[in-house]
């Protein structure tokens, strides 16, 4: 079930993925789950920024940029 995601509030990663697929988000106060790459919960700080805007905010220490559903963008080989 989709939950309304409001900037500034804290959610589980599952709620974030279910409600905002295929989006770049800026997260803060991340709680890691199984390992240091698997998010359990986080505060959704930025909802409406581009990948590069989020990267600039990251440089300023404001957030961690992350794409919600990388599994929807299947990588079968990268341009190198």
């Amino acid at each position: 079930m989709k939950k309304e995601i409001i900037a500034g509030n804290r959610y589980t990663w599952q709620d974030i993925v279910d409600s905002l697929p295929d989006r770049w988000l800026g997260l803060s106060d991340i709680t890691w789950g199984l390992n240091e790459a698997t998010i359990e919960s986080a505060t959704v700080k930025y909802l409406d920024k581009t990948k590069d805007e989020l990267a600039q905010l990251m440089v300023q220490g404001e957030c961690s940029p992350i794409y919600t559903t990388p599994d929807n963008v299947l990588q079968i080989g990268a341009l190198i």
Partner: protein, 180 residues
């Protein structure tokens, strides 16, 4: 943790399989010059942030998939325009940049070259980490424990140099910019 290994965690996919996308500390990208000018509190905060990168064991050169302005804000300097790159998905051109200081966990790279290709469509990561960055080291993707393991043997230096060679004569026009 066993000291002879550098380990990066790999996030799980929804079906519980691991994918070769790792989360690396973003402070790795900041040049020494930028770090000097930054407030210590902000720097400490940055150390907590990580960015998603794709570990590509078939890749020859590292690729930046974000905008050039972001790469420049990490301290990268323009190096060469119109560098052709190709792979499974086709071909394109990008601009090569020099990163004065790149640190991935304990691995440190000075003056590493990276090609910026922002027109790759939707890519859920910022950088492709190429296998050549681990040249001379043994690495494995452990799908069972969701780790990328890089083995450091006695005598291996944490200061690494990215070198890309042609098998025949150790030179190659398009790769020469990566070999100082």
């Amino acid at each position: 943790m066993d000291d002879q290994y550098i380990r990066f965690s790999i996030p799980l996919m929804e079906d519980k399989n691991a994918r070769p996308i790792a989360m690396l500390p973003i402070a790795a990208f900041l040049s020494a010059e930028i770090q000097k000018t930054m407030d210590e509190a902000i720097l400490q905060k940055l150390m907590l942030h990580k960015i998603p990168v794709l570990i590509d064991t078939g890749a020859v050169i590292p690729i930046w998939t974000g905008s050039k302005s972001v790469l420049e804000s990490f301290g990268a300097q323009f190096y060469k325009a119109g560098v052709p790159v190709s792979g499974f998905g086709g071909g394109t051109v990008g601009d090569a940049y020099n990163l004065p200081n790149l640190t991935i966990d304990r691995l440190s790279y000075r003056d590493i070259k990276i090609v910026a290709c922002a027109e790759l469509g939707v890519v859920p990561f910022f950088m492709i980490i190429s296998a050549t960055m681990f040249r001379g080291l043994a690495y494995e993707v452990d799908i069972m424990k969701f780790n990328l393991n890089i083995r450091m043997n006695p005598g291996d230096s944490y200061a690494r140099k990215l070198k890309v060679f042609n098998k025949a004569d150790d030179t190659f026009t398009n790769l020469s910019l990566f070999n100082d």
